[in-house]
Every structure is written in structure tokens, then in C-alpha cells.
Symmetry: C2
Subunit: 289 residues, 2 copies
């Protein structure tokens, strides 16, 4: 357990140091950089970049070389939060205990900060110290998982579902795309960066799908049961949205988290050194924020 925290901190520090070094040039569009950095450096659990680095490592790769890929993923995650919070979307004032991007920098700048981060994810990935084939594979996974058949597609389904009574399958699809796709990207990109086998790539995808689902169910539970202070955002906000808790109730949700967490752990047979990834799954299943 201590090993987990230590490695997690090592990964987080490395990714944050890299992110901290970006968008610092003294250029006329300095305010854009401020807006991008405001959200990018707002803390957060950094789960996705840590998954990139650990999957790279367990495949025998040099995780430090995968830092730009990890950072690219965090840029995409961050841009999606900025755009999600916009008045025309979820209209949230707080995120991670701080004012949302548009509350500080205005709507126009928030749109552009999101656009800037999304675009920078790809220049960052392209700049990695890796062979060209690996970079192309990473760009491909990243853009497909973040795009119209992945995260952005899920965001649309989520918006369209507001105020409607959604069926089980629809809710599963929304979360598989909106949250799941980027977690899948993280795990698979780690394997690509570490030159893992096809078998390991498939296993990482399976782990990611179950981890992502458990993560989302836990998210829904925390939204109902959670402590606003710990979460850093208003709770009970998603009442107009169909959630796993509304669909199944709290008890069944707890069981589902347990089941998906076990499925994630079972998928790790393809890797020799699985302690960190097992611990990650167990920790996320019981997280409080």
C-alpha cells in the first residue's frame, strides 16, 4: 500500500512538473496561457496520466519517456471539464473547490482555453521521444477515444438525455463514451508506449472498461451521498440526469462496483507486475472524492 502511494506520488509529481513547464512563454496571448494553466494545474487526481505511466512500466517501457503522452491525456481531460462547465453546457460555478474557468476568465476565453488544450494535447504527443510508429498509434487512440465516437459523442448523449428517463443501455452507453473512452485511451496508450504485446493491449482495454464503469458508478454514488466540501463541487446537482443510482439504487451500485473492480483485477493476468494496478482499482472503488 505504501509502495502504491509512493509510486503514485512519483508519477503525479513528474506529470505535474511537465505540465507546469508548459505554456509559460512571454507571448502577447499570455492571458490564454493563464486560462489554460489555471485549469490544467488545478490539482485533480491525475488518474489518467498515472495509468499511462504504469501501463508503460509494466510492459517493460521507460515510463519517463511516456510523460508527454500522459500529459496529453490530462490536457484532453482538462479541456473537457472546461467546456462541460460552460453556461451553455452544465453551467457550473465550481470545480475542484475553485471557480470554474469561465467564472474567472469569461466565457470566450474558456472556450478558447479548452480549444488550446485540446490542440496542445496533439503537439505534445507528437513531440514525445518515441519512434514515429508509436506516436501515430498514440495520436490515433487519443483522437478516436476523445472524439465523436468517444468522449465528445458521450457528452452529446448526456446532454440530450437530460430531463429524460433513460433506459439501462442508454446510461451504460453514455458512461462508456463520456468517462470510459478516455480511461481506455490512458491504459492502451501506456501499453503502446511500453511496446506491450497485442494480448497486453487487449487486457489493458478490459481493465480500463471495468475500472471506468466502477469509477462512474462511484461518481454517481458520491454525487448523492457525498460531502460537497470533499468533492469541491455542489452535490445532488445531477438530479436532472439519469444516473446509475437512480437506475439501480445504492445497494446494487455498491455490488456492481465490487464486481467491476474484480473484473478489472482479473484482466491483469497479462502482466507480471500488477500490484499497483490492483491497488488502483481497489482504491478507486472506495474513494471519497
Amino acid at each position: 500500500m505504501n509502495d502504491f502511494s509512493e509510486r503514485m506520488n512519483q508519477y503525479k509529481s513528474a506529470v505535474e512538473a511537465y505540465l507546469e513547464s508548459r505554456f509559460t512563454e512571454e507571448l502577447p496571448q499570455r492571458k490564454l496561457f493563464d486560462a489554460m494553466r489555471y485549469s490544467l494545474l488545478a490539482g485533480g487526481k491525475r488518474i489518467r496520466p498515472c495509468l499511462v505511466l504504469e501501463f508503460c512500466r509494466v510492459c517493460g517501457g521507460d515510463w519517463e519517456k511516456a510523460i508527454p503522452f500522459a500529459a496529453a491525456l490530462e490536457m484532453i481531460h482538462t479541456y473537457s471539464l472546461i467546456h462541460d462547465d460552460l453556461p451553455c453546457m452544465d453551467n457550473d460555478d465550481y470545480r475542484r473547490g475553485r471557480l470554474t474557468n469561465h467564472k474567472v476568465f469569461g466565457e470566450a476565453m474558456a472556450v478558447l482555453a479548452g480549444d488550446g488544450l485540446l490542440t496542445a494535447a496533439f503537439s505534445t504527443a507528437a513531440s514525445a521521444d518515441a519512434d514515429a510508429k508509436t506516436i501515430v498509434d498514440v495520436v490515433s487512440v487519443l483522437s478516436v477515444c476523445a472524439g465523436e465516437t468517444g468522449m465528445v459523442g458521450g457528452q452529446v448523449l448526456d446532454l440530450e438525455g437530460e430531463g429524460k428517463h433513460l433506459g439501462e443501455e442508454q446510461i451504460w452507453t453514455i458512461h462508456a463514451l463520456k468517462t470510459g473512452a478516455l480511461i481506455r485511451a490512458a491504459c492502451c496508450i501506456g501499453v503502446l508506449a511500453g511496446h506491450g504485446t497485442e494480448n497486453q493491449l487487449a487486457a489493458a482495454g478490459t481493465y480500463a472498461d471495468s475500472l471506468g464503469l466502477a469509477f462512474q458508478i462511484r461518481d454517481d454514488m458520491l454525487d448523492v451521498l457525498g460531502d460537497a466540501e470533499k468533492l469541491g463541487k455542489a452535490t445532488h446537482m445531477d438530479e436532472k440526469k439519469s444516473t446509475f443510482v437512480l437506475l439501480y439504487g445504492v445497494g446494487k451500485c455498491a455490488q456492481m462496483i465490487e464486481k467491476e473492480t474484480q473484473k478489472a483485477i482479473d484482466a491483469l493476468d497479462a502482466f507480471d507486475d500488477r500490484d499497483f494496478l490492483i491497488c488502483m482499482a481497489n482504491k478507486l472503488a472506495i474513494r471519497e472524492y
Copy 2:
């Protein structure tokens, strides 16, 4: 001249056929695809994709293989228009003679359609039938030119400059980033796709910079002098913005267009077959919409 129109039409048709084939899957997020296609297939001059294909061809490359790169560029250009037109940005109701994206699909969907197109540009580029090194170089140029030190940076400077009296250097910088960067990307990506020399890459950049500047000055002139019907959007709308016409007057602007067009043409010495690119520069200098 006839050769120019013929080749231009050939390129346009090829790119439009490719774009037409995209985002057609019958998926639950179909409405997102509709919104993306609405703006992507709204006509437009398709200058950027045609520059990609022609620069590829004059470097001895197979321009048909560069179509995904050309389409990626058009996706980025289109997303930038959708986000520019948003109420929190320029708040435009019409574009190319049709209602803007958010007027038809709503603001939230317009933000997401833009995000989807920007992301899809990179999955499209990554899917091209080209060697991995070329794809990485293309992704790199595309993301740097479209990103925080390119187009998005220019958009921020443009917004911040609204209602202010800007100096000559500031206006040049805004346009170099906001319009120029993507035209530069188009020309350079064409050379990369055609495996041109370093010398040709530099020449394409010089051509692009002068062409882009002439293009923007002509744009400013048309905004003042133009015919709203031909332009398909309201004219005189940019009065709150500092433009080349406000700075230099119409007469000086006409001279500058001539000078920059000549500079663009002079840069073409690095290529054997320059007729199309010369004609492109001359046509853009006198365009009416």
C-alpha cells in the same frame, strides 16, 4: 486559367467527397454528426485543402494520398468558424449565407461539434496512407499552427483587441496567427506529404505567409466595400475591430495586396510547376467574396 479552374474543381470534388463520406454512421450521437456535417459541408472556398494537395503534387507526391491531410485541415478551419460564431465570441447569425451552427443546433451542440471536428482532424490525419514519420510531422505542424501559439492564440489577441486602438504590429501579429498560421500549415503539410526538400518547405512557408497576409487584407477590404449577398454574411460588422483598412486606408491596402502577392509568387522559384500556385495567388488578390 482554364487549367486552374479544372484542377481546383478536381481537388475540391475529391476533398468534398471525402468529407461527405465522414460522420455518417448510424450511432446514437447522430445529432452531433449532423451538426458537424452541417458546417463541414456548407461549401466554402476550400482554399486550404487545395493548397495541401497542390503543394504535394508540385513536390512530386501522389496528391490523392494527401486527401486525409487536406480534409483534416478543413475540419480545423471549420471548427474555428463554428466556435468564432458563438454568442460569447463574435455572436454571428449567418455564415456563408446560412444560419450559423449554434442558431440551428443550439450553443451546447455547436461547442461540441467544434470539439468533435478539431479532434477528428487528428484521427483523420493519423489514418492517412503515409509513412509514420510523415504523419508525425503533419500532426506536429497541424497542432502547432492551430494551437496556442498559432490560430487559437490569434483568436485571443483578436478578442482582446476589440474596441481598442491597435498598433500596426499588433494587427499584423493577430492576422499572422489567426489566419496566417493555418494557411502556412496547409502549404507546409503539402510539401511534407509530397516529400519535398527542406528548401521547398521553407519556400512554401514564405509563399503561405505572403498569401495569408494578402488574403486577410482583401478580407478586410471586402468587409468594408463588399456585397453582403455575395459574402453570405453581414458586412461592416468588424467596425469594433482594428483592421488593415482602418490602419492604412483602401488605396494603401490595394498596394499591399499587390506587393504580398508578388512576394508569394517569387517564393515559388523552388518549384518547377508553379502555374496553379501563381494563379491561386492572383485570384485570391482580386476575389469578390
